[in-house]
Subunit: 221 residues, 2 copies
DNA sequence: TAAATAGTGTCTCTAAGACAGTATGGA
DNA sequence: TCCATACTGTCTTAGAGACACTATTTA
């Protein structure tokens, strides 16, 4: 009566050379062995406290990364999505700076621009599309994109991240007003970005109470 | 390795005398036999096409209602939420006019105001809270609350529904401007609400292309 | 001092709310 | 004719974008 296959799939997003990109791994087992797909795996009822913990474990095991932001996306369910039978995929999406993926240096991880994706196995294409839509939607009114940059960043850098996500140029004055009123950033006193051949920009960081809050809040939910 | 209990729980919301209310049923089986809880049940892999279909079936079977709006809320998961073991609850929420529940006349269904809820079994309290938050959040920028009124309604009636959901008075001119620009309503030509002792109000209905669209769109997702 | 980009002051324009007026039914 | 409520025209006010100006570094 209850022969349901229960798995976790993760959409690890970052901002690379091809714009917003997703991490794919070649599948080690059937079905679709050898095909690039989302990092995923079975729930381990003995090890995982809940779906959130399972997603953290899958990401850590398969990509070597402790993600700073992880949120449940949705459950993808049904008889048709997996040839093995009626299945539930608990889908989570994570945001991470590009440098963190490079630093982890996991061999099999391949980054593909979300606009360059070809067909993926199962309904992974649908899952990625839903994650991208969610991220873009939340980016309009939140500080989510901060998790795509490193710990220290300038406002012009952050604005370019928002613009890459939204796919349109943003007004500089409005962007800075919005950031000021969100009130989630703090200036790194005395630290400037001197890497440019022009006026250095003030460096900022996420205020500590927001650095993990967003991800942790979702655990209960 | 994969002993996961997989169920569906539904949050059926309506606008009753106590404001926004949720439908509860006394549980017929252990655990928590006889305790009021959300309508739910196991996935039937032989009958249900997917989680959405399972939620529709549960609502039809246990409350007698074909809901006009149903959307996935989230998956609630973990080792601790159900005494039977590691479980996944696919949670869906539905909106329905009060009259439809009365017409269905299912004996066991009890409506409780969401602000009057006492503790519920499992994590059903958390699930209801998440559904209410989602509905309130979506009500700010969408026509979702239209599914809480009957087929024909006046703008003043609809405004009172929005106000009951948001818990605050709304500006009449702004409300009507917003509805006009959402462009999801159509006037029922020549039909007025004559039940008041003052000037009758124009009756409106959801435009046909929106009557089911919202619910259906979510099937793929 | 010129070039380049960071950062800010201010004007304009759009959209939301306030208010008051007109419209239309019943008593 | 009066009352109650539906509906609408318009003024005011708050927020978003445009623009231009100042600031600070390297070459």
């Amino acid at each position: 009566m209850n022969e349901v296959i229960c798995t976790v799939d993760t959409v690890l997003l970052t901002l690379g050379d091809d714009g917003l990109s997703v991490a794919l791994l070649k599948r080690e087992r059937e079905p679709y062995k050898g095909v690039a797909a989302l990092p995923g795996g079975y729930i381990h009822v003995d090890k995982d406290l809940d779906g959130y913990g399972a997603a953290l474990r899958v990401l850590k095991t398969k990509t070597g990364i402790d993600v700073p932001y992880l949120e449940q996306l949705a459950a993808f369910t049904g008889a048709a999505r997996d040839p093995r039978g009626w299945s539930v995929s608990l889908a989570y999406y994570a945001l991470v700076p590009h440098a963190v993926i490079a630093a982890a240096g996991h061999p099999g991880v391949k980054l593909v621009g979300v606009d360059r994706l070809h067909t993926l196995p199962f309904d992974h294409g649908t899952i990625v599309a839903a994650a991208v839509e969610r991220l873009r939607s939340k980016s309009q009114y939140s500080s989510l994109p901060c998790f795509l940059v490193g710990e220290l960043f300038t406002l012009p850098q952050l604005q370019r991240v928002y613009e890459a996500l939204m796919g349109e140029a943003l007004n500089k004055v409005s962007f800075r007003r919005k950031m000021a009123e969100l009130d989630v950033l703090e200036a790194a006193e005395g630290q400037m970005d001197a890497s440019s051949p022009s006026r250095p920009a003030q460096l900022y960081r996420l205020r500590p109470e927001f650095r993990d809050r967003l991800g942790l809040l979702k655990r209960g939910l």
